[in-house]
């Protein structure tokens, strides 16, 4: 068997195909690192500036909490550019997106050129190109009969071919990863921590498991189909579906199949809710003023503020429901795309390096926890908690012939010494937690492997070698 592995490797390592693979892969790794370093430094500057500003002057009305850019973004970016740069926290735990740095929404959407992209698209294609001729090609050349004329079982031949291709794929991957790491660590030496290296090793294992699917697929198709060109055509069709079509259609499929009201329909409900929850209360207040229930102007304003805040709860709930619906729709999209091993790989890789939606959820959950501390601080300094609303209002009435403006209340800024302000600390989830969330996707990849491996072995046993 070693003889076969050796022959396969020596044959392919000198082939034009492998050499171009090696060169192209290395070049792409270098380009991707270069791009990452630049983007990371931009994001870091933005982050540092923001953090400094917040530390100098923390707000009790509108606190900007910036999210630290992911130093492992070069492995799997996870759509960082679609995420907000951080969260604006206002009293009573309301979170809204922080405007990020300049981002041109008119530019063409192109996928991020990170490691995950290289593995899931470029290397998976190469895995197919390296295997599609392995059985059918030998059949065409007549060498398959020659090999099998020796005392070598067919599954062993297949395993030898599998192992040699995996070794061939590992070479450029490991080389590229090392070059990338060295390049990046020149400008960012801080990434070389044990935990980060563990995460990267995890990604390497994940990548090999993922690419193994394509190697097995190539071997399977190559055994099943007689002509090499038809093998390649079928493999490329499958590749297009797995790698490009399924992951990209899942969004629109989720849109179509999750029976959610559209954004417009949801937005139309906001008006009536505000009408019910806020205006009617305020109108009621005006009647109560006429009925002489209030003694002073202050009392009226206090009551109006209370009613307004009470009414806001319904509005907030509505927005929250919409947000959850969008979230569940995007989860549905993710689950639909999990039919494709490419999506499984993408999500697992994101978990490995702590990026993507999970990272944002973790960040926002931490802020939710922190908001209690924040509220306590405001209570202790300002004395009252005023939540910000989804809309503001302004009306007026008369009290005892005097003009009274009723406006939505705003949280107050504390002017005193804020050196004891409890700042938010952005912590990275422990690796074990990330591994746990990657586990399911990783198992999916393993199942694909097992399935294809058994099919391939079955196929070569039954293969007609004449």
């Amino acid at each position: 068997m070693l003889t076969i592995i050796h022959r396969e490797i020596t044959e392919k390592i000198h082939s034009l195909q492998f050499i171009t693979l090696f060169i192209v892969a290395t070049a792409l790794f270098i380009i991707s690192s270069g791009i990452f370093i630049q983007q990371y430094s931009l994001r870091s500057t933005f982050y540092e500036d923001g953090i400094n500003e917040t530390h100098l002057n923390p707000s009790t009305a509108r606190l900007k909490i910036f999210q630290r850019p992911n130093p492992l973004g070069f492995v799997a970016d996870g759509g960082a550019r679609f995420e907000p740069a951080g969260i604006v926290l206002t009293p009573k735990g309301r979170q809204s997106a922080l405007e990020s740095g300049p981002e041109n929404f008119k530019l063409d959407i192109v996928p991020e050129l990170d490691w995950a992209f290289l593995f899931k698209i470029i290397f998976s294609l190469y895995a197919l190109l390296l295997t599609f001729r392995s059985v059918s090609g030998e059949k065409e050349q007549g060498t398959l009969r020659l090999i099998l004329a020796n005392s070598l079982s067919r599954p062993r031949l297949l395993i030898a071919k599998y192992l040699s291709t995996m070794i061939l794929l590992t070479l450029p991957i490991v080389t590229g990863m090392l070059i990338s790491l060295i390049y990046i660590s020149f400008s960012m030496p801080e990434i070389l921590t044990l935990s980060n290296l563990l995460r990267i090793t995890g990604t390497l294992l994940l990548t090999l498991a993922y690419l193994s699917i394509f190697v097995l697929l190539g071997l399977l198709a190559s055994t099943l189909i007689e002509k090499s060109s038809v093998v390649l055509l079928s493999l490329l069709s499958i590749w297009i579906f797995m790698v490009i079509i399924i992951p990209n259609t899942s969004g629109i499929l989720a849109d179509t199949f999750s029976p959610l009201p559209s954004e417009y329909e949801t937005s139309q409900k906001v008006g009536p809710i505000i009408q019910n929850a806020v205006w009617e209360k305020i109108d009621g207040l005006k009647i109560r003023i006429q009925n002489g229930e209030f003694q002073s102007k202050e009392e009226i304003i206090k009551e109006s503020n209370r009613l307004f805040q009470e009414g806001q709860i319904d509005v907030a709930k509505h927005y929250h429901e919409y947000e959850n619906a969008m979230q569940s729709r995007s989860n549905l999209a993710a689950n639909i795309s999990r039919f494709s091993p490419t999506a499984l790989f993408q999500y697992a890789a994101q978990s490995m390096v702590n990026s993507g939606p999970d990272r944002e959820t973790w960040f926002r959950n931490n802020i939710t926890e922190y908001s209690e501390t924040y509220d306590d601080y405001i209570l202790s300094k300002v004395g009252e908690l005023v939540g910000t609303s989804y809309f503001s209002f302004s009306t007026s009435t008369t009290f005892n012939g005097e003009h009274v403006n009723l406006v939505s209340p705003e949280p107050k800024e504390y002017d005193g010494n804020k050196s004891d302000f409890p700042h938010f600390i952005d912590v990275v989830p422990p690796f074990s937690q990330n591994i746990r969330s990657a586990m399911l996707d990783f198992c999916g990849i393993l199942i694909w492997n097992l399935l294809l491996a058994s099919c391939a072995i079955l196929a070569i046993r039954r293969c007609d070698v004449r």
Binding site: G79, L107, I122, L232, S237, I240, N248, S262, Y322, N405
Partner: protein
């Protein structure tokens, strides 16, 4: 002679497995994606219509709505991404749309933002280009391996006729695939009662089909060239796939990064500084008027003059801010254009910009919308002013209706001439290369 070769080529394609498989995949993808996109479009359009109906009621702000383009079913471009609603008032003319929910809530679309749209343009750009490569890669070297090339050339057959026949055969098959795929999409659009196609849309669709044909022809010529250049079919396919990956997947990506590097956009703070600087001469007046207005509100005593002055200076500020914002918006467009220019060598980038132009789903359609919004804002402000000067007239007048102009097809064609010429040049270049190297090729 030419006819004989041409007919044989066609027959060969029709009989080959690769064509049949490819054709079925293309038809399947085209019809399912069109169906899905159509459902999505109908919803978006319905929302737009309901929103427009609501706009007649006048408040402090008025919503300007951008109509979703019918052709976005086939070529989504940036139609969905750029949003539909823009809220204007006398204090603000934004240059970015907000979703119907406004702000952060609308941003939740970002969960789905990373997905590329699977539409007609995508299928032509990615799937069909790959299929065309599959049809072309062994055009010459395959025949050489079979021995039929020698046999054919042992006759009084000029070589140029042979390669010309191959080209024509390939173009015909591309045409057949493309036209049947387009007709399938068109049929789906036509049988849907909620979609009304007009004459102009057919013209646009014809333009899109023609450009797609040109784009695919380029890949065919490239395949032909490589198949003349190398002797083994396997090598030819390998080279073509590498080129394909580079041109379709990697290069467009890099051009966007480079564009970001070449044109740097000013930050939000710089923008605010600019706005401040431009408004500087009027700032004092503005502050005074704002204060007077504020005092008036607190006191509850209506003063017509204060209202008018405040309105005028605020509207002026909005208009001036808008100028700065528009400049920024133009800068964004420039960055995108630079990206396209850098991507000129990639047919995928050229193709996208052409068909998005035809479908009106490109950025220039959006920029035109922004200009129209400003014109509308001027009308709106004129009328809003009546509120303070002539309340009676204001009450009797209707809210001006926002109209977006249809861009004539000739302008679109004129805009797309350059990328068309480039695509044509690439095709011709590859064919000439294929032609000349075939004339000199060692056919033994």
């Amino acid at each position: 002679m030419l006819k004989t070769i041409f007919l044989r080529e066609l027959l060969e394609y029709f009989k080959s497995t690769k064509f049949l498989i490819g054709f079925c995949i293309v038809l399947f993808l085209m019809s399912t994606s069109t169906y899905l996109n159509m459902t999505e479009y109908v919803q978006r359009h319905q929302d737009y219509l309901s929103a427009v109906e609501k706009v007649t009621t006048r408040g402090f702000s008025v919503d300007v709505l951008r109509e979703p383009q019918v052709m976005s079913v086939l070529i989504q471009g940036k139609d969905r991404k750029l949003g539909n609603q823009l809220e204007i008032n006398y204090m603000r003319i934004p240059v970015e749309t907000s979703g119907y929910m406004g702000g952060f809530a609308s941003q939740h679309h970002r969960f789905l933002a990373g997905f590329q749209a699977i539409d007609y343009a995508f299928i032509v750009r990615v799937v069909m280009s790959l299929l065309v490569i599959f049809l072309a890669y062994n055009a010459i070297c395959g025949e050489k391996m079979q021995g039929t090339l020698k046999l054919a050339l042992s006759n009084a057959l000029p070589r140029d006729k042979l390669i010309l026949g191959k080209l024509l055969g390939g173009l015909a098959i591309i045409g057949i695939m493309l036209i049947s795929a387009t007709l399938a999409c068109l049929l789906l659009l036509m049988i849907n009662p909620q979609i009304a196609l007009q004459g102009i849309h057919y013209t646009r669709l014809a333009g899109i089909t023609a450009s797609s044909a040109l784009y695919l022809a380029m890949f065919f010529c490239m395949g032909l060239y490589i198949s003349v250049l190398v002797n083994k079919s396997g090598t030819s396919l390998m080279i073509l796939l590498q080129i394909w990956v580079f041109l379709i997947i990697i290069y467009p990506n890099l051009s966007v990064y480079l564009a970001k590097k070449i044109i740097t956009l000013p930050g939000k703070e710089q923008l605010a500084d600019q706005k401040r600087a431009v408004f500087e001469p009027y700032q004092k007046e503005y502050d005074i008027n704002r204060k007077a207005f504020h005092d008036m509100i607190v006191s509850g005593k209506r003063d017509k003059n204060i209202l008018i002055n405040n309105f005028n200076i605020t509207a002026q500020r909005a208009a001036m801010n808008h100028l700065v914002d528009m400049e920024y918006s133009q800068q964004m467009t420039r960055q995108m254009h630079v990206g396209h220019q850098l991507g000129t060598l990639s047919p995928a980038v050229l193709y996208d910009s052409i068909v998005q132009g035809f479908a009106r789903t490109d950025v220039s359609a959006f920029d035109r919308f922004l200009k129209e919004v400003k014109i509308y804002w001027d009308q709106y402000i004129e009328q809003y002013k009546l509120r303070y000067t002539d309340r009676e007239a204001y009450k009797n007048s209707d809210l001006p209706v926002f109209k977006s102009s249809q861009q004539s097809i000739s302008v679109i064609i004129a805009d797309s001439i350059k990328p068309h010429i480039l695509l044509l040049m690439f095709s011709v270049l590859f064919f000439v290369l294929a032609y000349t190297s075939f004339l000199r090729k060692d056919v033994r």
